[in-house]
């Protein structure tokens, strides 16, 4: 093996690209798929909590504040903080939060407890929603994985992101003509087609790939590269606080409670001033801190973003209603901090509207497609060689089988995640963990699947099988939604709930893509022009079938030679 490392620079980079990529491909693919889904975490959660009532388009925030305040006064009269989130932007329900502080006399400890409720806009009563992990769990898994301690997971994902970064840089080095081959895709040429597809999916979103990988590393900078900070500031929290004070400045405008009781104004008192500044119905959240104290204040956030900066917020005195503070993202940070903030903003994409969010999502899927085509390319290339030799190594067979289970299997597992959400009873107590267990159990089955059927089906048929399963599961999701909830396409399309309708429609589109892929595998095999195509999930190759033909030809030529 070490021989292959020697040789010229490009050769060794090629070797590095291939092997660094293959070793971590499955986990990176998992990170890309779940991370892409994470761009729609709120939307997925909305779909997974069908109890949330549909909201009609006319949003009057004054009414909502009245409803929420009434409810808060009933359930949390003594809470020290009240918060209201409005259904605006990417929030889909009116939700209230409060912090109960109870002084337990026995041991003198102060117990803080956060509670939250979703409110029905028509009745003002709370809605009980199923306790699903929703899209947030998918999003969380792309950096914290699952079943292992999160700090360990941060190290693992960072290390794999490092592999990804090296894969990207070495990929740029070995790609000879990035611009000349920018639009190149040669269809129906097995290895060449897979390589072209890999190139297209890597090069077109290259800025995205580099940004997402590098910023992903930066997100855990203080976990994975702590030595720089420690060497300069010394170990221990006290020392690092000196650094945090300089770099991560908090808004210091919020006063602590003074302990003097005072009567607070209601939220509606300040609304006139807010509407004058921002216009009507533009508030993302409103809350009051230190309730009942003379230092109580009301804070509001503006909905929507203007550029990549932080959201502006307003702080009012909750005793006399005077404006205390206007925040425009705090003080101006230094260039280094600005760059760091920018990278993290770009990674999370919180500033993006619906179109930009879709662009993020598609770019993320293209990243997953890049990894998937890389894995397939590895196998296809070696399969062609192996068929010429008439002998396939164990590694090749392993990778071929793993490819099926990891690439399509994960997509099936995510569909199962949504299915489990609908099929478990609504008040099932351990719903959150069992939804995720369902995902991983299904994924393991998909990994094992090629092994059980290895003697009966060719690799190609295995691809076809799993694509068919995926097509069925995704395609029937809207039907399942119709049977189990009221938020089905019939209602959502006509009431204009584009988020819920969009979820179902997207599932149908995915299903069509998988079905097309399965169709290509089962019905077009043996064609001289093998049909390969660019949609990511439809990755499949008919190398087995074609190579069988090649084998026959080889054997015949050998006979002729005799």
């Amino acid at each position: 093996m070490s021989k292959t490392v020697n040789g010229n620079f490009r050769q060794s980079m090629k070797w590095l690209h291939t092997w660094a990529g293959l070793t971590v491909a499955v986990v990176l693919y998992f990170m890309f798929i779940t991370g892409s889904a994470g761009y729609f975490n709120n939307e997925i959660t909305y779909w997974m909590q069908p109890e949330i009532p549909l909201i009609n388009n006319e949003i009057d925030q004054r009414e909502m504040i009245a409803i929420a305040e009434k409810r808060l006064a009933k359930v949390a009269p003594n809470a020290s903080e009240w918060w209201i989130d409005f259904p605006i932007g990417r929030e889909y329900a009116l939700s209230i939060w409060w912090k109960d502080v109870s002084n337990q006399a026995e041991d003198g400890n102060i117990v803080e407890e956060w509670n939250d409720e979703l409110l029905n806009l028509n009745t003002g009563e709370p809605v009980t929603v199923r306790k699903t992990g929703g899209g947030d769990t998918l999003y969380y898994m792309h950096y914290a994985l699952h079943y292992i301690p999160s700090v360990l997971a941060y190290w693992i994902t960072s290390l794999f992101a490092m592999f990804m970064l090296i894969g990207l840089i070495s990929g740029i080095v070995i790609h000879k003509q990035i611009f000349k081959d920018f639009f190149t895709f040669r269809k129906g040429k097995q290895q060449h087609s897979w390589r072209d597809m890999h190139n297209v999916l890597s090069v077109l979103p290259l800025p995205f790939h580099i940004m997402i990988t590098y910023s992903g590393l930066l997100l855990f900078m203080f976990t994975t590269m702590p030595s720089v900070l420690t060497a300069t500031y010394g170990a221990g929290e006290d020392n690092q606080a000196r650094f945090n004070d300089v770099v991560f400045v908090q808004d210091a405008e919020h006063k602590d409670a003074a302990g003097i009781a005072a009567k607070n104004i209601s939220f509606s008192r300040i609304l006139a001033d807010v509407e004058q500044r921002w216009g009507e119905n533009q508030i993302a959240y409103i809350g009051i801190e230190n309730r009942g104290d003379i230092n109580a204040h009301i804070e509001l956030g503006l909905h929507g973003y203007d550029g990549l900066d932080d959201k502006p917020s307003l702080t009012y005195n909750a005793v006399n209603g005077e404006l205390q503070h206007v925040s425009q993202g705090g003080r101006t940070p230094s260039a280094a901090k600005k760059f760091y903030d920018l990278m993290i903003m770009l990674h999370e994409g919180k500033f993006s509207g619906s179109i930009l969010r879709w662009l993020y999502f598609i770019s993320g899927l293209m990243g997953a497609g890049m990894i998937a085509t890389g894995m397939i390319l590895w196998a296809t290339k070696r399969r062609e060689r192996a068929d010429k030799k008439g002998y396939a190594s164990k590694g090749l067979i392993l990778v071929e089988r793993l490819n099926v289970g990891s690439i399509v299997g994960l997509l099936i597992a995510i569909a199962v995640y949504f299915w489990v959400n609908r099929l478990l009873p609504a008040n099932f107590s351990e719903r959150e963990s069992w939804e995720i267990n369902g995902l991983f159990i299904c994924w393991s089955i998909m990994f094992a699947y090629p092994y059980f059927l290895a003697n009966k089906r060719t690799i190609n048929q295995l691809w076809g099988d799993q694509l068919t399963i995926a097509a069925i599961l995704y395609g029937l999701l809207p039907a399942l939604n119709f049977l189990t909830t009221d938020n089905h396409l019939g209602n959502t399309l006509f009431s204009g709930s584009w988020v819920l309708a969009g979820f179902d429609l997207t599932m149908l589109v995915f299903s069509l893509c998988f079905a097309y892929g399965a169709y290509l595998i089962f019905h077009k095999k043996g064609n001289a022009v093998a049909a390969t195509h660019t949609i990511k999930e439809n990755n499949s190759s008919n190398s087995r079938v074609k190579s069988a033909d090649v084998n026959v030809v080889v054997v015949k030529t050998a006979e002729l030679a005799k």
């Binding site: 000349k180 920018f182 639009f183 190149t184 895709f185 040669r186 269809k187 297209v200 077109l204 979103p205 800025p207 995205f208 550029g307 990549l308 920018l342 770009l346 500033f351 993006s352 509207g353 619906s354 179109i355 930009l356 662009l359 993020y360 598609i362 770019s363 293209m366 660019t534």
Partner: protein, 112 residues
């Protein structure tokens, strides 16, 4: 409206840019056996020019940061479409891009 112009220039830029590559040129115009180098050079020049114009418009409309993010995201999808069309329906490349442009125009009217 400005954003539409930006997208328009992006599509035009990508089409012309792909035409400046010999392989893609032959895909679109198989009847022309040997495109002259000068023609390809002019195509490349126009391609770069209109892509730069579209970046400039994006940045002008959305600010430096967001403008660049939107531009890179859009150019990724646009060139992916371009690749698909060049491979499967080369004769449609130009008209399809115009149709896509119209769709995007309609969408941008709602939200960016």
């Amino acid at each position: 409206m400005m954003m539409l112009f930006a997208l328009f220039f992006m599509f035009v830029g990508l089409i012309v840019f792909s035409l400046s590559m010999k392989r893609n040129f032959k895909q679109c115009y198989p009847q022309i056996k040997r495109p002259s180098l000068r023609l390809l050079f002019i195509f490349r020049l126009i391609g770069y020019l209109s892509l730069s114009i579209s970046i400039y418009l994006c940045v002008l409309m959305q600010g430096l940061g967001l403008g660049l993010v939107i531009w890179f995201g859009a150019v990724t999808i646009a060139s992916l479409l371009q690749v698909i069309f060049l491979t499967y329906r080369p004769q449609w490349t130009i008209s399809s891009s115009l149709i896509t442009l119209l769709c995007i125009a309609w969408l941008t009217g709602i939200n960016v």
